[in-house]
């Protein structure tokens, strides 16, 4: 055990809590500072209308790293394995498709498509698995690499060549950089099935199915699936935040909410601590930012402490969100044409075909919201009835595309967009509009304001190749440490990016501990 450091973690989102817990478990003195009144960030549950509560942003648990889950003993901290969530691609005529992780079923599907899906998922899950060494480690530098970087690259090369085999490696290298549209068109016929898969490739991104890179984002998501199926924890998403909080507390982390950090103090190239909005100053040996890169380097740190081109590159990060979150308080369960009540507990998708998704995206390019948005719908109150009054329900909808930079501004467009979404759901669930008791719309602008995420971007920045791996969030700050000594990143802005994986927090903690061992 080396010296015990005093660590401040800025932001009590899931990655901040994961990082804090690892560091505290290693004997360091860790203080988490959260601006909001609850911990867990996007996974925190809050009340949006009197008597109705819902998890603010994340509404399904998938991709959570099993290593994090095990190391932090989250299962004993209250995160019990819940029910697996499947995706149901809705159809106005009631011919829904049910998409599991390996199997797909639906009345309208051909036997060829059912087989093709099985093969496609097997192949792509296989490719995604090859990324394992890259994802669980700090991204290797491509020049001036240390021994760990060399090991990571060697493992990756081995995985590609021998893990995948010659044929799969070639196929992986072929499709890795292209779009999901062309790949799906090659193997699957059903427009509905293709539409649903394409959503997984573009959700949360500024991408359509035809945007090159969308295969990579799909692989990234699949990588999460290789070890942790989408699920709703027993007791709902609220369990995620409370389990993380408990794990942190058990490890000795000191947690403070309603403690917004105004700035990270830097002196002579060294992080010294933080100053809160209240004016209170806290000193630390190490400051870890769970905020996105722009917030960290442009707001919290005085950018004059950094090199000019570095700051320019931070400023050029693409991080404008495209997903709005809608919460509906309902006086009962909605009735969807041709869907049994059991189905309502799953992830419902409105994305009838790839062209629909692409058209939805077209609008986002020009600062318009989708005329026909892509919707991802869950009803969290089914798993956790405490979220709504008896007999009532809450519906959580991620609506895409709702660009941050709406040309006309969101102020005047909130109602129009909400109506588009309601209208869209109504087509699948007639009578839905009469069930609404209360509603809330969180546009990317609202998400930015409430969650302190620049651009309201889910993943703290686009997950395109040029902003991934050793370029995430930008090169020069891609190994969790930053040009400012003693300042680290641990959030979704860092490798491997967004999602409730806990991996950025885990990797950042490993990096800090490794560097601490060497005395920085």
């Amino acid at each position: 055990m080396t010296k015990s450091f005093k660590v401040i973690i800025v932001g009590g989102g899931h990655n901040g809590l994961v990082c804090a817990t690892y560091l505290a478990a290693a004997g360091h003195q860790v203080q988490v500072l959260e601006a909001r009144d609850s911990l867990g960030g996007g996974a925190a549950t809050s009340e949006f209308a009197k008597g109705y509560r819902v998890s603010g942003l994340a509404h399904i648990l998938h991709s959570l790293s099993p290593k994090v889950r095990k190391d932090l003993k989250l299962d004993t901290a209250g995160l019990e394995p819940g029910t697996a969530v499947e995706t149901i691609a809705l159809d106005t005529a009631g011919q829904h498709i049910r998409i599991g992780s390996t199997e797909v079923s639906g009345d309208g599907l051909s036997a060829e498509d059912i087989n093709a899906y099985r093969q496609f998922k097997a192949d792509f899950t296989h490719y995604a698995g090859a990324l394992q060494p890259l994802i669980m480690n700090k991204p290797p530098r491509l020049k001036g690499m240390d021994s760990k970087d060399k090991t990571t690259l060697a493992k990756l090369g081995w995985q590609l060549r021998f893990g995948l085999g010659k044929k799969s490696m070639r196929e992986f290298l072929r499709v890795g950089g292209i779009n999901i549209y062309d790949v799906l068109d090659e193997v699957i016929d059903s427009p509905q099935l293709k539409g649903a898969i394409a959503v997984d490739a573009v959700l949360g991104q500024h991408m359509g199915p035809r945007t090159p890179n969308s295969v990579l984002t799909y692989l990234h998501r699949l990588w999460g699936e290789t070890h942790s199926q989408a699920s709703l924890p027993a007791g709902g998403m609220g369990q995620v935040a409370s389990a993380l909080e408990r794990a942190a507390t058990d490890a000795g982390v000191s947690l403070r909410t309603s403690a917004a950090v105004a700035r990270i103090t830097v002196s002579d190239g060294l992080a010294k601590g933080v100053e809160l909005r209240s004016g209170e100053c806290l000193e630390a040996d190490i400051v870890v930012s769970n905020a996105d890169a722009k917030t960290t380097f442009l707001d919290l740190v005085d950018s004059a402490e950094l090199d000019a081109m570095f700051v320019h590159r931070v400023n050029s990060i693409r991080s404008l969100g495209n997903v709005a979150k809608l919460h509906f308080a309902l006086n009962g369960l909605p009735k969807i044409n041709g869907l049994l009540q059991e189905g309502l507990g799953h992830r419902l998708l409105i994305a009838p075909n790839m062209r629909y998704v692409e058209h939805a995206f077209n609008h986002a390019k020009y600062g318009e919201f989708s005329e026909n948005p892509v919707l991802e719908i869950t009803i969290p109150s089914i798993a956790d009835p405490s979220l709504a009054p008896a007999g009532h329900h809450v519906m959580s909808v991620s609506a895409t595309f709702a660009p941050y930079g709406l040309k006309q501004g969101w102020d005047k467009q909130r109602e129009a967009f909400t109506q588009r979404v309601i209208h869209c759901i109504e087509q699948y669930a007639p009578g839905f509009v009469e069930q609404i008791v209360a509603q809330e719309l969180l546009t990317p602008v609202d998400i930015e304001a409430q969650y302190h995420v620049t651009g309201g971007h889910w993943h703290h920045g686009e997950m395109a190749i040029d902003q991934l791996f050793m370029m995430r969030p930008i090169h020069g700050a891609a190994q969790y440490d930053t040009p400012i000594n003693g300042l680290f990143l641990c959030g979704a802005a860092a490798h491997p990016g967004g999602g409730l994986t806990g991996i950025p927090g885990h990797n950042a903690a490993q990096r800090i501990l490794a560097m601490a061992k060497e005395g920085f």
Binding site: E171, G177, D182, D466
Partner: protein, 537 residues
């Protein structure tokens, strides 16, 4: 039955280049061409009396000077005259002129944004870094990443060495350049809409991608790394039209004893015992050879002129799914005089270069949205040149020939292409130009309108794709045309490929033809006649 050392199928410029290097090595070579003229898409045709059209490819820059020198094309009649500058006309009546004089060009950028004029220095230097790296790769055979052969390992080592001549941060920036969209890449440098639009255009030419599609920044290089006499990034006209390029290569080829047969369409490559033995012509005639080289695109090669039984299943599958969607059209116009462009200052040299009429990234991207939905762009991006301002051989005195390249035009429109739809496409283009030139329509004597349908039918470019295969990461370098087949060798012995479907791809470069010849000569144990890269240092 005629017997040769080598048969090349298709007398496009790559086929001729390939043939010329084989003939130069002493082989007895015949080139078989289905049309009654040579050149394929690199031809000059007289479709209106007195006018010569470069009716497909229309400007020259990527053609490798190494090949020019090695085949002595100057003495075989090729003259490439550099173009001067380019201009984008704007909807508000203004324009941006990229003058050939750097001082004037700078002041013109300043007129739109002072900052952008200075950012252009940073941009140019960065682009040159990537150019340097990629150019050295054009005349080399891509290594196979899945192979363990010594040659592939050595080639990888060579590439890595070049790659590592960059600094660490340049390495990341290079990767980003390779994977970003042109619009987002340029937005790191420039702020003015017109500057962004003007510099982006080159990145979508011939592609099925929009300015916001990742992977398009690299395509810019494809259009910027050519040079005319060492002036990197500049373009030239071939005197007499692009047909002069193929004529000169053909003449060089013939000077080495090579033979060209036109009106000789190949129906099938004959294969016996997993070895190519020759070809069968449409006429039924058989021609035999030790080596058969296909200059057809990958789809035609493996699906049309090869028997499915001679092609392995995985290759057949890849060939069927080869992405070769056409995205461009061409309008060639005979003009009674020089059209006026009131927005351009009188006497300005700007009409001598490329002319465009798209002034924002949004308009460029919307043009792409139309293509995605199988429509031609209602507001297309055009690359227009009037070579008769330099070249007196292409039209009668005082008259002009205008070559208009149009992006986007899909290979398939809803309900299929008809002559009426083709003409409506032409009208869209002519109307756009007429918006900026009041006397333009009155000057039109004849117009040849070519959608992908015509390009496929006449020149044999599948789906009308000008690069014989899209330039996306899945079809570049060691993936071009297919993983495992990127070294110009076909699935049966003695069969090779030399078209733009192969590395380094389209543009009138001649590089696939030369690279393929190098591999053939290596296999035959002959002296290599193909040139080495001149090198950048």
């Amino acid at each position: 039955m005629e017997k040769y050392d080598a048969i090349i199928i298709g007398a496009g410029h790559n086929g001729l280049t390939n043939a010329a290097f084989l003939a130069k090595a002493g082989l007895d070579v015949v080139v078989l061409e289905k049309n009654n003229y040579v050149g394929g898409a690199t031809a000059s045709l007289e479709l209106y009396e007195g006018w010569k059209y470069s009716n497909c490819s229309y400007v020259c820059s990527l053609f490798r000077p190494e090949i020019y020198q090695a085949l002595d094309l100057g003495r075989h009649g090729l003259e490439v005259v550099p173009l001067q500058g380019s201009v984008s006309l704007m909807q508000n009546g203004d324009h941006f002129g990229s003058y050939h004089q750097s001082e004037v060009r700078r002041r013109e950028i300043m007129r739109h944004s002072k900052r952008d004029a200075d950012a252009a220095i940073r941009f140019d230097a960065d682009l040159m870094k990537w150019c340097r790296l990629i150019r050295g790769f054009l005349l080399r055979t891509p290594p196979d990443p899945a192979s363990f052969r010594m040659r592939d390992a050595m080639e990888f080592a060579h590439l890595l060495k070049r790659f590592y001549s960059l600094t660490e941060s340049q390495i990341y920036e290079f990767i980003r350049f390779f994977t970003m969209s042109i619009a987002e890449y340029l937005e790191q440098y420039f702020e003015s809409d017109i500057i962004l639009a003007h510099f982006s255009g080159g990145s979508i030419i011939g592609t099925g991608l929009g300015v916001y599609s990742p992977g398009t920044a690299y395509v810019l290089l494809h259009h910027a790394m050519g040079d005319v006499d060492g002036n990197v990034g500049s373009w030239g006209f071939a005197r007499g039209g692009m047909g002069s390029v193929s004529q000169a290569i053909a003449s060089s080829f013939q000077s080495f004893g090579g033979k060209i047969r036109t009106n000789a369409e190949v129906q099938q490559i004959a294969v016996k015992g997993r070895k190519a033995t020759g070809v069968v012509l449409a006429s039924g005639e058989e021609v035999s050879a030790k080596v058969v080289v296909s200059n057809l695109d990958a789809k035609r090669t493996f699906l049309n002129v090869m028997d499915a039984n001679d092609v392995p299943d995985d290759l057949l599958h890849r060939a069927k799914n080869f992405k070769i969607r056409g995205s461009s059209g061409k309008v060639n116009i005979a003009l009674d005089g020089m059209p006026e462009f009131p927005a351009i200052p009188s006497g300005s040299p700007l009409t001598l270069g490329h002319m465009h009429f798209t002034d924002s990234l949004e308009r460029l991207e919307r043009a792409f949205d139309d293509w995605k939905d199988d429509r031609w762009s209602a507001d297309p991006y055009v690359d227009m040149v009037i070579p008769t301002q330099y070249d007196p051989t292409m039209s009668p005195p005082g008259k002009h020939m205008m070559s208009v390249f149009v992006q986007y035009c899909p290979a398939e429109v809803e309900g299929g292409w008809t002559d009426a739809k083709r003409d409506a496409f032409g009208a869209t283009v002519i109307d756009q130009i007429a918006d900026y030139s009041p006397n333009f329509k009155d000057l039109i004597l004849h117009a040849e309108i070519r959608t992908p349908r015509e390009l496929e039918a006449e020149v044999g470019l599948t789906e009308g794709n000008i690069f014989q295969g899209e330039l996306t990461l899945d079809q570049l370098m060691f993936n071009r045309p297919f993983p495992g087949y990127a070294q110009y060798r076909g699935p049966v012995k003695n069969m090779y490929m030399c078209s733009s479907s192969n590395h380094p791809g389209g543009g009138v470069m001649g590089a696939p033809g030369a690279n393929s010849a190098r591999e053939i000569l290596l296999d035959l144990g002959k002296t290599d006649t193909t040139p080495e890269d001149f090198g950048d240092d």
